[in-house]
Symmetry: C2
Subunit: 253 residues, 2 copies
């Protein structure tokens, strides 16, 4: 099978290189990723300037295509232009840092998988929690391999992708897999106001990135408890449950 | 009431200035918007560098705060730091160009309204279709005013925002309001490969931006037929209908 591998940490990140190796037994892995770090870019796309594609090598070996755009740009350009054959799977990651709760929307990693799903490719985003220990990228790649093995045997509905988050603990300590909902509450977050050497104010986004409340059944909770979190996501944002009520309003504009 | 007004076309765009005037009768309107054009940035946020806030004046009159970040940054910084009092409404727009279908995810305008909803503020994104005629921003601001008047009287569930798209035709020709679903199919889109003066290839994103198929009941279809499209959106992307099935898979990683 043909697999597209991308991320938002950039084509030189350890997460993508470990995953390239781990996914090799499943088929041919085409790496198409941003040429630099693109964390927090969400589902941004580039249309005001053109994109450049560069073949990237490390130690003389071809790694893949590096693009000066967002993760979503990489997927779009790979599918629409660079790769001549249709891919059967897209994996985005391994991101260093969890993508749970509202971070799902801020994340370039998840956006790449959304773009893949939109283009009709079964897509998966994979992220590894940051903790006090060094990120065990090799272990996470091994875990991802086992998960992908299961996903290949199953079928994802068109328009649905999987968002996977792995806790940064040893394989033996991981309690298992929890199927979860995206946490949708508020975060502990604030801005730090500082003053530059010229006396002008600037603001840094700061905070723990963890929720003010903890909700059982969510991606955040599962991860915190030592489980791998698997959340099925869809990119149709329509609030179906509110359609009827909003339709009953007196819209006579 | 306190209203936050933002956009992704930047603080000097005609869309935000017309809307500021149109919304004035409802309360105090605080403009907090990107200092330059930020179309297509999606829900990107800035945490790798700090943000600057600048008071913006035109002809000696205070317009609002211009920020060197994304639309979502503007909302986050406004709510968490700049505005001391809680706002009761957030309006993002008027964007010049429709935000329907997958553009909902690419759009900085919609992302700002999602960020507002996340922060507990009833939020609305407003976009005006681009057509062959000059965009009638004044007319769209008037239409928006009437819609906001209705929304203020009603209640949006926490976590739900409204995505409004206005066709660029005269008020008399607008057929009414349609409550719609976000179109989730593919677009007519491709990359144009060109060569720069030094002989190196580059790729421009191109295409009509319209879907390959037309689906009744969607935002795109309503707009095309001359209706104002109103889509309730939620930022919890969980695919609830697929939760049970994915939970039945053999997750023994």
């Amino acid at each position: 099978m043909k697999i597209i591998l991308t991320n938002d940490d950039g084509i030189y990140s350890p997460g993508i290189l470990e995953l390239k190796e781990a996914l090799a037994p499943f088929g041919s892995v085409n790496v198409v990723a941003p040429d630099v770090q693109k964390s927090g870019v969400g589902h941004s796309i580039t249309f005001s300037h053109p994109l450049r594609v560069r073949e990237v090598y490390t130690n003389g070996d071809f790694v893949g295509y590096g693009i000066d755009g967002s993760p979503a740009d990489c997927v779009k350009l790979a599918v629409r232009e660079i790769l001549k054959e249709k891919s059967q799977l897209l994996v985005s990651g391994i991101n260093i840092g969890a993508n749970v709760g509202i971070n799902v929307l801020y994340s370039g990693t998840v956006a790449a998988a959304i773009e893949g799903a939109l283009l009709g490719i079964p897509s998966v985003a994979v992220s590894l929690e940051i903790s006090e220990s060094t990120p065990d990228v090799k272990g996470a790649a091994e875990t991802t391999k086992n998960i992908i093995d299961l996903i290949i045997k199953k079928e994802l509905p068109r328009g649905t992708l999987l968002n996977i988050n792995i806790p940064n603990i040893s394989k033996e300590k991981i309690k298992g897999v929890k199927i979860t909902n995206q946490f949708s509450g508020d975060f502990e977050e604030h801005y730090e106001k500082r003053t530059d050497p010229r006396g002008i104010a600037y603001y840094w986004l700061a905070g723990t990135g963890w929720p003010k409340e903890d909700v059982i059944g969510t991606d955040m909770h599962a991860l915190k408890e030592g489980y791998i979190s698997v959340t099925p996501l869809r990119y149709d944002l329509t609030d179906k449950t509110f359609l009827t009520e909003v339709g009953s309003w007196e819209w006579n504009t």
